[in-house]
């Protein structure tokens, strides 16, 4: 460690600390403060209501928290398990030395990773278009003129659509992580198991998979957390819709999208800033707990390995 004057340390830290205090911390604290008030767009008041907003959010029967959280968790489970399956299969295929043109396949399959996600989300939105989108057009070639999947107007199909887009965007990350781990699995183990008569499925289950776990676990947790707070990709395609009934959020209103729509508000309607802040703080507590758990889990994994 270097020994320096305290003022030098201060100078090195100052720019970062000021920025963090002003732009990161202040909004968080302001949101926290707002969650204890009754502020809305119309009343403009900041009266202290203690935990009233939290009580309403957590215990009121018309609270949408559970619905939105459930929808988001469903999305996380669907996405992450499919990332894992698709990433694993592509990595296994790319690790097979008998396949010709490995370099070509490797570059081609990682292309979605290099494209700017927000633009490709808009492109996907067009691909899903009912009348003019090529996916339904291809379907019409095979199934006749009346074919058409209501990708963005039916709740279930909209959900599937945003899962598909997310897989497209995210599987290359898993492919790279798993491929890297696969290449460190000693070939001798496989040969030995083959000689002992193990089938390829048995070899995968008892040799490859356990050796991949240390690489897969952190990647899975990381992508579960980022999928939980997914915004751009989904919002650009569905805006959180389709909305099927007036008293329920849309079928792809995951936590961030739900909140964003509340903040933007409908034209001429009141915006309940305090309630939105309460929702934000609740989500922050959930996310913070998850991140903390993931981190301590990762640490334990590391210690177990060492």
């Amino acid at each position: 460690m270097l020994k320096v004057k305290r003022s030098t340390i201060f100078l090195y830290m100052l720019p970062m600390l000021i920025t963090i205090a002003l732009i990161n911390l202040t909004p968080v604290l302001y949101t926290l403060y707002l969650s204890f008030t009754n502020n809305t767009l119309f009343n403009g008041e900041y009266n202290f209501v203690a935990l009233g907003n939290y009580g309403k959010l957590l215990f009121s029967t018309d609270s949408e928290l559970l619905y939105v959280l459930g929808l988001t968790v469903l999305y996380v489970i669907a996405c992450v398990s499919l990332f894992l399956i698709v990433g694993m299969l592509t990595a296994l295929a790319l690790n097979n030395q008998k396949v010709k043109g490995l370099l070509f396949w490797r570059v081609v399959l990682l292309v979605p990773w290099a494209t700017p996600y927000a633009i490709t989300a808009l492109v996907w939105k067009f691909l899903f278009n009912f009348d003019f989108g090529p996916i339904n057009q291809i379907g019409r070639v095979f199934f006749g003129k009346d074919f058409g999947i209501p990708w963005t107007t039916n709740p279930v199909w909209a959900f599937i659509a945003v899962v598909i887009v997310n897989i497209w965007l995210s599987y290359p990350f898993f492919t790279i992580v798993i491929l890297g781990a696969l290449q460190s699995v000693p070939q001798e183990l496989h040969e030995a198991a083959r000689v002992d008569g193990a089938t390829s499925w048995q070899r995968f289950r008892s040799i490859t998979f356990p050796l991949l776990r240390p690489a897969i676990t952190p990647a899975t947790i990381l992508s579960a957390i980022t999928t939980f707070q997914m915004f751009g990709t989904v919002y650009l395609i569905t805006q959180g819709g389709p909305i099927t009934s007036a008293d329920k959020p849309g079928a792809t209103s995951f936590v961030m999208i739900y909140m964003y729509n509340k903040v933007l508000g409908a034209a001429g309607a009141n915006i309940h800033y305090a309630q939105i802040a309460t929702f934000a703080i609740t989500i922050f507590i959930i996310l913070g707990t998850l991140t903390f758990l993931a981190r301590s889990l990762g640490q334990r994994n590391k210690e177990a390995l060492a």
Binding site: L2, P15, V28, V108, R140, Q229, F284
Partner: protein, 320 residues
């Protein structure tokens, strides 16, 4: 195949053939032969399944990109039909000409470069000095700062979006320089990750290098700029790219605080594209051409910078 496993294989196969009668030997050999044949057939079948899977995945991976490129070349004519067109009948660059002449695409690109570039410069400089102090010095409040950074990392900026609005209003940036405001928010948001990443990398560099420089008469500032920073270029490049790409694709905050003027020339291109695509009076070919123009530089940058990503991000994160 290693020597040992070859030996083991040989051993196993010789053990399978008992040295008793000739007929038994032949029968066994036949069995071994059909076994080999079956295995070869199986692996051939397995291989074609793998190829099939790779082809399907390639179509999945490339189709959106292929479609948008061909649509950008198709002119306006055959996009709004319900029949399938996978090849433009009369390829033309009309859409590109339109994008450059009729849409304020250069203004969008300029705005976006300004936001991303400023955010990258601020975020990188502030985080690398902070990361250096956290990595090299021991002082009161160091643990607190590290824990604070950790907690902030779990807080997606989007949650406090109303607060950002008021903050920028309070700083008088909302109406005078909203792009600068956007850049500040991006920089601060990326600062936390960037600081962790760079600190992790600094931790792997031996402190003896700087100590040697100090003994040779360099000041602390010189040791930092001339010794440590050049060695940390992979981590710096990875962080810079991370911040830049984040600012490039940001949509939520920009959509909330930027109000379009008459021509829309004050927008970042993500917002411009969003409006272009949402408006079904504009032919989709224009949108396609515009998105190709905008994606191209970023994709090339990303592919080029990937090697920095590998060493810069992994080393930093493993130690962090």
């Amino acid at each position: 195949m290693s020597d040992q496993s070859i030996k083991r294989t040989l051993h196993a196969s010789s053990g399978a053939i008992p040295a008793v009668g000739q007929s038994i030997k032949i029968q066994k050999r036949e069995e071994v032969k059909t076994g080999v044949l079956r295995r070869r057939l199986q692996s051939g079948l397995g291989l074609s399944v793998i190829y099939l899977f790779l082809i399907v995945m390639t179509i999945f991976a490339l189709f959106p990109i292929y479609y948008v490129v061909q649509a950008s070349l198709a002119g306006g004519q055959n996009l709004y039909t319900t029949d399938l067109h996978l090849l433009p009948a009369h390829p033309t660059l009309d859409n590109y000409v339109y994008a450059f002449t009729q849409e304020p695409i250069l203004a969008w690109l300029g705005n976006t470069f300004l936001v991303s570039g400023l955010a990258t410069a601020i975020g990188l400089v502030f985080s690398m000095t902070g990361a250096y102090a956290l990595s090299r010095f021991r002082f009161k409040g160091r643990e607190v700062t590290l824990n604070l950074l950790l907690a902030l990392q779990a807080f997606p900026g989007l949650l406090a979006i109303t607060a950002y609005y008021y903050l920028l209003q309070y700083l008088n940036l909302l109406n005078t320089a909203p792009l600068l405001g956007l850049a500040l928010v991006h920089a601060a948001g990326a600062l936390v990750f960037s600081c962790w990443n760079i600190k992790g990398y600094f931790d792997t560099l031996p402190v003896e290098l700087e100590q040697a420089a100090l003994i040779d008469g360099a000041t602390h500032t010189q040791a930092f700029w001339r010794v440590t920073l050049p060695l940390a270029i992979p981590a710096l490049a990875a962080s810079a790219l991370f911040i830049f790409v984040g600012g490039w694709s940001e949509f939520a905050l920009a959509n909330y605080i930027l109000n379009s003027n008459d021509t829309g020339s004050n927008l970042t291109f993500m917002l411009g594209l969003y409006r272009l695509q949402g408006d079904f009076r504009t032919p989709w070919g224009y949108f396609a051409a515009t998105s190709v123009i905008i994606s191209l530089p970023l994709t090339i940058l990303f592919l080029y910078a990937q090697r920095f990503f590998k060493s810069g991000l992994t080393i930093g994160s493993v130690k962090g």
